[in-house]
Point group: C2
Chain length 451, copies 2
């Protein structure tokens, strides 16, 4: 039993929907189809979700909504005619879009969510009918019927744990269920959306709920590349990745799925595969809890810029109980999250995302470290990048660090900081940003290049 | 102007004292001589300080002290006769030793310190007279006269900052001042000792106080070796080391001086040299605030065992503000100091000294991490060693990590954890203890061996 999710670009046109139909038809295990709103048909096009945002804003400003309303209705109608679907469906969708204008916006925290959700919701109705017309026993299911009950945080809903029991009942259906992604319903019946990119979350929740054997996430790339294609020329796509490896790679160039989308599938131990609607025979990248066999020691290399490091030293630092805790407390009081904390005996560096620091926060940190913790020296270094070499099988291979250090040293890259935890899941290097691309390229060559 | 300190083995016999005399005579800048109590003359001998401890215990138990009293007096008398010093000195020292028995021990927190200090104090009197007899203008100075005024913590005194002004007045003396090490006097006039090995502390305090150009610490080794001589065969002695490098190496095999002894000289910016009384022409190891020139990228390699690591992982750990701080708080509440904290995205290791963990504390840590911080996995790994590669000039040399990683990988050593802070002062590896000696040897060979 598989849950299959399609992104907006896979659902943008009649031509794309035909590919989707064929994919669903080709495997009888594909029983739950989670859909996004229609995406762009070409680079000049507008996503339906963006049009719905405009519709909301126009309505909120008490301006004439006819133009934007018609654009959205026409967008759906065009697909309906191209696919030869029913006039009844066209009327149903037009009515749903028009009804949005009646929503009281003033003082209604859920109004925006209701507008946005209409893209996924109406597309699911359309796709269900398209499937039926083409010989599949399919049915549209609203998240409320499916049992996707969420917390009442507009734009940032979380699934209620009790939802999973209700979702499990869907297993008994013998139809293909088409479920709109991106939103759930509160206990009070309000439409409430997940964070943006939330159709992936719906797919993940449904996969965990129905205890699927596989969650197939169809997008427009052949899976996850071992390095960013903008940096390395034609990197290979990774065959198998563990959830942990995926997290380590999450910094940059690997943002196919939001972390939040991975959680339900991860906790439900449902493997996930990222595949390409436009190239469905490609195996894509499978994300599993445990590797199926011995693989390369390294699975991927990521690089990300915009990090800073707070460097401090204090004589006899390592003899001071509580020093590290107090440093982190200062950051926490300023609501700053740190990424890494490499240490010597008497010095400590804290690596964090640059955007978390404002000039005022910087000054506050320096003041507090100097006055309260009486550090001997403190400085803030900017323009840093983090390079991650990731692979769960590194722990079974001696010499990964040697290979990495040789590649970086041959490219004349200075290693500002280094950290490798006992999980041996990844090695982190902090380097200057101007050397980031060169570092990723030389590491890719060292681990995956031709010998 | 130099402060020169001699350890117990340099002062154990008439023969040793002759070497000391020649060392002091050979340089007119050697104006302040800080002395320890007489050490062992041979491996069966007893240190005077240990005899004084026995004397104290016998006295505290109200037992007959004659035997131990006479042993100590004879120990000093033997040296006095061998050196041809005065009967008056012999009587003075005998009286001082006998008077100790009159100290009220019950309820007197300072009694133990008074007994112990007698070793250094009477040796200083002896050495001052020996210097005078041999043509030096020398004078014994009691710490009270010198101005070494300390806090009233028996066995763990700290110098009062105001002492330094009084000590500076000693600069005006045109005699060689012989000052007993190891103790000071409280504001109330009580003898109070530094922590054990405290003659080094006295030397460091005097050096900072008189604003010496150099603090010469004479011991029985040719300085500090670049690796432990018990592990590496005939390691070379380091010519120049910065205080920071000394601290990084402080883990093991480098404990020539206590950290506490370094602080006054470090804060007073007095360079320190460790030399060998038995080989005074050897330049020894100079410890400076800043390197005098370009040296090797690596100055020394240390290894130390008896570390454990607490390893934990939690999905989305790096998104949680305060997670690291909370982990360190748990340790701090158990009064546990950590050494290093290497991190991945979703995992964290805390490296600490094994002796800090009891089975109860271990259980408490695991419980709290599991219950309060809801980590997914936690384990405690034992039998770990820390290897440090140290050198301030590493930051100007690309490729140190490559050399180190190659050496370790060729010796088949698995790197459990790695950390290098932005100071680039040291690279730390955590490995299994059974591989520690092999790791140190292979790194020594890689950085200092013949090519």
């Amino acid at each position: 039993m598989k849950v299959i999710k399609f992104g907006g670009s896979s659902l943008a046109s009649a031509q794309q929907l035909e590919k989707v139909l064929n994919i669903v038809k080709s495997d009888p295990d594909r029983r739950f189809v989670v859909v996004s709103a229609p995406g762009k048909r070409n680079s000049e096009d507008t996503k339906v979700t963006d049009a719905l945002i405009k519709y909301y804003k126009t309505s909120a400003a008490n301006q004439d909504v006819t133009g934007i309303q018609n654009w959205i209705i026409t967008r759906f109608h065009d697909m309906i005619s191209e696919l030869g679907l029913s006039e009844k469906l066209a009327q149903n969708i037009a009515f749903a879009i028009q009804e949005l204008a009646k929503i009281e916006i003033e003082g209604n925290d859920f109004a925006y969510d209701a507008f946005l959700a209409a893209g996924e919701d109406n597309n699911a109705k359309l796709i269900a009918e398209y499937f039926q017309k083409n010989g599949l026993t399919a049915r549209y299911v609203h998240p409320k019927q499916a049992g996707i009950i969420v917390t009442g945080e507009p734009g940032n809903a979380s699934i209620l744990p009790s939802s999973y029991d209700k979702l499990e009942e869907l297993r008994d259906s013998d139809e293909i269920l088409v479920i709109p992604g991106f939103f759930g319903v509160t206990a009070q019946g309000q439409i409430c959306t997940f964070s943006r990119g939330g159709s992936d979350i719906t797919g993940s929740i449904v996969a965990a709920g129905v205890k699927a054997d596989l969650y197939e996430n169809f997008t427009d790339v052949d899976g996850i590349f071992a390095a960013h294609p903008g940096v390395v020329k034609n990197p290979h796509s990774i065959t198998e990745l563990t959830y942990k490896e995926m997290r380590e790679l999450a910094y940059a160039g690997f943002s196919v799925l939001h972390d939040e989308a991975l959680i339900p599938a991860y906790r439900g131990r449902v493997p996930l595969v990222i595949k390409n609607t436009n190239n469905p025979s490609h195996p894509g990248t499978k994300i599993v809890t445990k590797h199926s066999g011995a693989t390369f020691p390294v699975v991927g290399i990521s690089g990300a810029s915009d990090f800073v490091s707070i460097n401090m030293s204090k004589y006899l630092m390592n003899k001071e109980v509580g020093f590290g805790r107090k440093v982190l407390q200062i950051l926490e009081d300023l609501n700053i999250r740190f990424e890494h904390m490499p240490t010597g005996i008497d010095d400590m560096s804290i690596v964090l995302k640059a955007k978390q620091l404002t000039p005022i926060k910087e000054q506050e940190i320096i003041d507090q470290l100097t006055r309260k913790l009486e550090v001997d020296e403190v400085s803030i270094e900017k323009g840093l990048s983090i390079i991650m070499i990731v692979g769960e099988n590194m722990k079974n291979h001696i010499g990964v660090m040697e290979t990495a250090a040789r590649a970086l040293s041959q490219s004349n890259i200075n290693l500002e900081m280094i950290s490798q935890g006992s999980s041996e899941l990844s090695i982190m290097f902090v380097i200057k940003t101007e050397q980031e691309e060169e570092a990723v390229r030389s590491l890719y060559q060292a681990f995956f290049g031709e010998k």
